[in-house]
Amino acid sequence: MEIAVLLKPVPDPAQYDKIQIDPATGILVREGLKTVINPEDKHALEAALQLKEQYGGRVALIGMAPASAVETFREGLAMGAEEAFLCSDRAFAGADSLATSRVLAAAVKKAGPFDLVLSGSTSADGGTAHVPSQVGELLGFAHLTHVIQFEIGSDGLASVRTKMENGYRESRGRLPLVLGIRRELNTPRYISLMGIMAAQGKPVHVWSLDDLGLDKGKVGLAGSPTQPGKLYQPDMKRKGEVLQGEAWEVAQRLVGIFRSTGILG
């Protein structure tokens, strides 16, 4: 089975509390944040590696990111993917989900053909959850997202369970498919030392706008139907009155507060 995994390098979500907006320029300050594989994409990659173990074939990583993100793709190769395709061009900067999906779909076509495209369901940074569906549309593949369980038979028939509010939905369809994976699906494997060594010898292809044959007006900020305005940080600050004393004293104060809000008679 030929499988593409969409892998997005993101700033480490454990450090988002350090992100600031520069009040003078309104620009996002995220210096010093480590770049990691988007957490859900590791679950997508794990699923792909398991299918490869079951059916044979190859797993390719595909992403759009600055060229400096090569190391993040090496991590994915160390987990067990065969090769990586990194789409990197100044023209791609500032892309919204549709402009991003155009680049990713073009790369999937060029690197393919693939039977299956797996992605995370939501990125940790932008987090729109649009990309799996939009890549599916642009490729002309059927697609499902928020996938929490799936099986693909040797006949290419897939049964896919997607998460819904208070439950799930079970769908059936044929490959090729794009599936957006949630973290409930599996537990990603650890990277082994052997894997890290093997990854050094695996190919990382870097593709530009011209390599992909895309129109400059369809990618990056210029090709994005959504345009960003002001950025700001939500002001959540409250009065922060400190309740001091022994636990029983604090409890008495809290009961008083509960009473005054009417939640306790």
């Binding site: 939501t122 649009h130 059927a142 002001k230 409250r238 009155e241 029983w248």
Partner: protein, 342 residues
């Protein structure tokens, strides 16, 4: 009478004959926009897809809706992206609304980006605010980095302007007097069998037991600092005494202490707005905080005086959460007994 232009469409969601609450929440915003935005002219329409859902069309028409586009067909019984997006695409291309709104549910998060790609237009994800500026453009406020950052998004050059809204972001509006017109569309011209590549074979939805978090006046939320499943039981006792509900952070969920994923609060979970929120052993990451910011009174108990959660609290307690919860239980029970004794 001149026909009223329908500027804003809300794509509503029904599951097994029940309207999703988020659809009504979104309708409230649509009605607010047409009433308050002077640069926007026109009314509100909803699009309802399903199988024998005429009664829902009636129900919807009472929320400040000018028109209900109702498409009924056995093939639309369950949501499926292929069939639903086929119908919606044809309707939108025919009627050309300015604005198209969705609930960001499991289904909505497939349907909205699918349509945006087919229509080559912009979609803003998980809006926490919607307004119309002086030029009549929709200003969509969206979160990123787990809620740490908010950004404005515009869709200047293409139509419709599309936006999705998560459940619980806005409150449910009141029903109103007056009814919208219900227009039953001909499903056979809007839905083609060739649209359908995927079939829904099963849908399982069940309301979790107990008071839903988003309806509770009191939310007792616990985090990793609660330390054990045994200590978690104290939170459940406290919620029971206060007739509230217990919520959790992702680490507490992952530890297996909680009643399940439906109790997680934050960017990837529920949004709550109780009268009182009490956080116990929660650090206050942006991912969690984004789900509680509209609460009435926010109290946090954390043994670390510098925990970020204290910064967004009305009241802060720097102490062991287990001890405070135990003392609180004792105090509440004591005062209840005293009352009874009187």
């Amino acid at each position: 009478m001149a026909e009223k232009r329908l500027a804003i469409w809300v794509v509503v969601e029904q599951n097994q004959g029940k309207l999703a609450s988020v659809s009504i929440e979104v309708l409230g915003q649509a009605a607010r926009l047409v009433e308050t935005a002077s640069a926007l002219s026109g009314g509100v329409a909803v699009v309802l897809l399903g199988d024998q859902v005429g009664d829902l069309a009636e129900e919807l028409s009472a929320y400040g809706v000018d028109q209900v586009y109702w498409v009924d067909d056995p093939r639309l019984k369950h949501y499926q992206n292929d069939s639903y997006s086929g119908v919606l695409q044809r309707l939108v291309e025919r009627e050309k609304p300015d604005i198209l709104l969705f609930g960001a549910t499991g289904a909505g998060e497939e349907l909205a980006p699918t349509l945006a790609a087919r229509l080559s237009t912009g979609l803003a994800a998980h809006c926490t605010g919607l307004d119309v500026n002086a030029d009549g453009q929709l200003v969509m406020k969206v979160p990123a980095f787990g809620g740490r950052v908010l950004g404005e998004i515009f869709c200047p050059n293409t139509r419709p302007q599309m936006a999705s809204i998560k459940p619980g972001t806005f409150t449910v509006p009141q029903r109103r007097a007056g009814r919208g017109e219900i227009v039953r569309e001909d499903a056979s011209s809007l839905l083609l069998d060739t649209d359908i590549r995927l079939t829904t074979v099963d849908v399982l939805q069940s309301e979790p037991l107990g008071l839903p978090l988003e309806k509770a006046d009191v939310v007792i939320a616990g985090g990793y600092g609660m330390g054990s499943k045994k200590n978690w039981g104290l939170l459940e006792q406290l919620a029971a005494e206060l007739q509230g509900a217990v919520g959790c952070t992702r680490p507490a969920l992952d530890e297996g202490w909680t009643a399940g994923e439906h109790t997680m609060i934050g960017t990837s979970g529920k949004t709550v707005r109780p009268k009182v929120y009490l956080g116990c052993g929660i650090s206050g990451a942006a991912h969690h905080a984004a789900g509680i910011k509209d609460s009435g009174v926010i109290i946090n108990v954390n043994r670390d005086a510098l925990a970020p959660a204290h910064a967004y609290s009305d009241y802060c307690v720097t102490a062991d959460a287990k001890k405070v919860v135990e003392a609180l239980l004792e105090e509440i029970r004591r005062t209840k007994n005293e009352k009874r004794g009187r």
